[in-house]
Symmetry: C2
Subunit: 199 residues, 2 copies
């Protein structure tokens, strides 16, 4: 496009690579940025520069943070006996938001997938068995997605941990809190019935 | 959120201000950036830094570009007799993409709106009458949106240009190319009938 210089075109192209933005919305976002220089473009540019400089992948759990080991791995108040295995950092963030558990994590960075050609060597599995063998670790919770890939990965991880003296658990399946039975799939309903508890 | 440092939180908050991204998708976008540092975060950070430094608002037409006057105002091959008045830079970009006209532009930066309290002083109207009075200018095309605010603004601009010796025109109303009559509103259909042309 001749109307905007190559610098603006490049900004649009890069913004279009963000999830949730297509070529059209990236153009809109670029314009939004360019017309709000002081309020948005400059602060965002600065925030990205800082992220570039400071964000690291934790060498223990593969969380992203501005320190390595990450603030979760450093946090002495967390229960050292439990490691929560998640697929992605977004899952770690979701669990932290829920404040459901105060443990340490292990981010796999994906799932096994024969279809997409992702094998064990593509996941952050190398240090997991070693971490699980540490004397203080008593439980590994497999907080992977309830998808075929997630479950395949869970089985693989379980096999990997057979010689570590830890209890391997998985998240409960059931009716989501606030969910209506009418809208749930059969698999979820069946799981909820199977795992019913005393009222 | 304790899981990510304040630097990452700030990045998420700023990304959430982009049109098309909410708090949830901004978190997803931030994570996408942080896990693709070399391919995306660094180039985007650099593109934004360059945009911050170089992008200016054209003092003639209010287009955004990396030079002032902008590349369109400088372009000697464009028809100097026509000024296309648009609401926003996005409209200018849309017209440039269509390659429908090779003229110069005048970006108003919005519309008059009694409801939102935007008066003539909030628009880039100061230099328009002066530009239209230049001897080479013969026509001003009002390429504003076909909304109430757009049309109000069009009328105001027409009044502003009464003493300039220019022809003031507006975009044609009618059936969009590729559009189906069945899905069009009555106003568009009536306009299309009124402005029918010989086949």
């Amino acid at each position: 496009m001749a109307a905007a210089g190559p610098e603006i075109e490049r900004l649009i192209q890069l913004l279009a690579k963000l999830p949730g933005l297509g070529p059209r919305s990236a153009r809109r976002a670029a314009l939004h940025l360019l017309t709000r220089r002081g309020q948005l473009l400059e602060p965002l540019s600065e925030a990205m520069r800082i992220a570039c400089e400071r964000v690291e992948v934790c060498s223990t759990c593969a969380n992203v943070d501005t320190q390595n080991p990450c603030s979760i791995c450093r946090d002495g108040r967390r229960d050292p006996s439990t490691i929560v295995v998640v697929e992605d950092v977004s899952d770690l963030w979701a669990l932290e938001r829920s404040a459901a558990i105060s443990a340490r994590y292990h981010v796999l960075g994906g799932t096994l997938s024969a279809l997409d050609g992702r094998g064990p060597e593509d996941l952050n599995l190398g240090t997991l068995a070693e971490r699980a063998r540490a004397p203080e670790v008593k439980e590994v919770i497999l907080a992977v997605n309830a998808t075929v890939e997630g479950q395949t990965t869970a089985h693989y991880v379980t096999d990997l941990l057979t010689d570590a003296e830890v209890k391997v658990t998985r998240l409960a399946h059931g009716v989501p809190v606030g969910g209506e039975l009418d809208y749930l799939d059969d698999g979820t309903l069946a799981a909820a019935i199977r795992s019913r508890t005393t009222f």
